[in-house]
């Protein structure tokens, strides 16, 4: 029995997924011992944020076949919404330090970001993607890609025109004492940002795995004609998927507002990072995207720490190119062919 487990474990470690995850864990432990636990904390907070953006991107790609390059702008919309909701709340808190808003105000702002993202996604489907899909699905991937690039430019400039190009940030969400875990001090904001993303990713996973609607989304991603045949309303699922994907990015932007202020092109970095994750973990693989998010976050944090701050895009992208040369379907690429592979 125990021999079997050992054999299974060694077999797993030898797969691309197992190998890269094992290396990642070893690197994380080594770097933590070498420089201190804050490195691990940074990785986890960045990874949690990235997981939200990357699962949204995975949804857009896997379910709708849209290579989304405007996804960062929904991150931006989330942080902007949270900023405009939280600023009046924090002024109110200054005058009424005993109010329940001290604890719950930030949640309202983050929830607002989530809803704002969902609405923005639904509007984009109604005004941009839906009309293109009904007009023609020839060359869909290329056309929808170009559309998202245009959408990105449009949203960045709209932000600049309406709200200005300056940084719209807040001092912090929660004012409590930092929590100490194993010698590392984690601010309440960071800890809660991570918990929020962990809870949302878990809920999202359960939703996709066990609910009727989640199964319908997966069915559409695997075979759209099959989904239509069994009676799934494709238009409804598409609308839901886009707003869900955008809401995931927006809630990420909202919960990180204390760290990353909102400005027109704030979405660029999360977008690039999320694309690294999606390419690395295999297109359209949701669980893979979550694991991949933490790996890319680790890579980025370690690069900043050991190579220098300017290198945090160079090293991860170089490594990803290398991985792709050896494993083109991504490290979690599944053995079963899906619609995208046809």
């Amino acid at each position: 029995m125990s021999k079997n487990i050992v054999a299974d474990l060694t077999a797993w470690v030898r797969t691309a997924a197992g190998l890269s995850m094992t290396i990642a864990v070893i690197v994380a432990i080594a770097a933590t011992i070498h420089t201190g636990p804050y490195l691990l904390v940074n990785t986890i907070v960045t990874g949690g944020m990235l997981a939200l953006v990357a699962t949204g991107l995975t949804l857009m790609l896997g379910v709708l076949n849209i290579p989304m390059f405007a996804h960062g702008e929904y991150f931006m919309i989330g942080s902007l919404t949270a900023y405009y909701i939280f600023t009046p709340i924090s002024e109110f808190i200054l005058e009424h330090p005993d109010s329940w808003l001290v604890t719950f105000g930030p949640f309202i702002a983050i929830l607002g970001a989530l809803i704002g993202g969902a609405i923005a996604g639904a509007i984009s489907e109604k005004l941009v993607f839906g009309p293109l899909r009904r007009r023609s699905t020839d060359n869909w991937v290329m056309n929808s890609f170009l559309l998202t690039v245009g959408l990105s430019v449009l949203l960045v400039n709209l932000h600049q025109l309406i709200f200005g190009a300056d940084f719209k940030g807040i001092v912090g969400y929660w004012q409590g004492m930092p929590i100490s875990i194993a010698g590392a001090y984690i601010s309440l904001d960071r800890a809660l940002a991570f918990i929020i993303s962990a809870v949302i990713v878990a809920l999202f996973y359960l939703f996709m795995t066990y609910t009727r609607t989640g199964m319908a989304i997966r069915a559409v991603s695997q075979d759209i004609t099959g989904a239509e045949i069994v009676g799934i309303d494709i238009e409804k699922i598409v609308l839901l998927t886009i707003s869900l994907a955008c809401a995931l990015a927006a809630v990420s932007g909202g919960s990180l507002l204390f760290m990353i202020p909102s400005y027109p092109s704030v979405g660029l970095e999360p977008l690039y990072m999320a694309w690294f994750v999606v390419i690395l973990s295999g297109l359209g693989n949701i669980l893979g995207a979550v694991v991949g998010a933490f790996m890319v976050a680790l890579l980025k944090v370690i690069t900043v720490e050991y190579v220098g701050a300017g290198w945090d895009f160079v090293v991860p992208s170089a490594l990803i190119m290398l991985i792709l040369i050896f494993k083109p379907s991504g490290i979690f690429g599944s053995d079963v062919r899906g619609v995208l592979d046809k």
Binding site: R212, M215, A216, R218, A219, Q222, D223, T225, G226, A227, E228, I229, V230, G231, I232, D233, I234, S334, V336, R337, G338
Partner: protein, 235 residues
């Protein structure tokens, strides 16, 4: 009359395939469409199933005009389409695929009743219910596609090429399962390459050529027809 298709014209983009196709099916009937490759048999089925919207003509099901409805709306009316390509959900298990087939049924116990029925008809699927559909053999996939089509308890099944790519023995068992469905009161429209087999099992048949209905009648008569014998059976 369960299904009445009148003067259907349909195709892909500007390319017209079907020309004034008309056919009728009564409740409980077992009807076949035969014809050479590229005749428009699958196109006819896809148009009835709502996957293609027709240029003109009408499809009336259960007295209700369903022309131009989307595929999912047609499915909700009680028409189940088992396509040539099967369109299975490859990353889902056999059982998940079957449950998806019952998507239009909300009550869990009704879904499970259907599942038991399908498993009884195809014991092979029951044995492999935890296997991913994408890893099944061609014949097993065909069974799964037919099984999935039965899960919604449809009043009409459109089955495109049930025996395509199957060994003779499996072909016999797939046709036997359709036979069981007919005995249970199901109405089936089947498209087949295998003309002899189709005309032997069905009640009535249509011969489709170049997008037009050439001949129609009782299957037994069609099988005796000199034109059919010459063109399709080579005798």
């Amino acid at each position: 009359m369960l299904l009445e298709v009148k003067n259907l014209n349909a195709g892909y983009g500007y390319l017209q395939i079907l020309r004034d196709v008309s056919l009728q099916i009564d409740k409980g009937e077992y009807v076949g469409i035969v014809g050479p490759n590229g005749a428009g048999k699958s196109t006819t089925m896809k148009t009835i199933a709502g996957l293609i919207s027709p240029m003109s003509g009408s499809v009336v099901f259960n007295g209700e005009d369903i022309t131009g409805l989307s595929g999912s709306a047609v499915a909700k009316k009680g028409i189940s389409f088992v396509s040539e390509e099967m369109n299975l959900f490859v990353n889902m298990t056999v059982q998940e695929n079957l449950y998806m087939g019952a998507y239009t049924i909300k009550e869990k116990h009704l879904k499970n009743e259907r599942l038991d029925f399908v498993f009884e008809l195809f014991p092979r699927l029951a044995e492999r219910k935890k296997q991913l559909a994408g890893t099944m053999s061609g014949g097993e996939r065909k069974m799964l596609a037919i099984g999935r089509g039965m899960m919604s308890n449809p009043s009409l099944m459109l089955v495109d090429e049930p025996s395509f790519g199957l060994a003779p023995q499996l072909t016999t068992s797939v046709f036997a399962s359709l036979e069981v469905l007919i005995k249970n009161g199901m109405t089936i429209l089947v498209v087949e390459q295998n003309v002899t087999k189709t005309l032997a099992v069905t009640d009535r048949g249509y011969v489709l050529e170049n997008g037009k209905v050439g001949l129609e009648g009782n299957s037994a008569d069609l099988a005796e027809d000199s034109y059919v014998r010459k063109v399709f059976l080579g005798v």
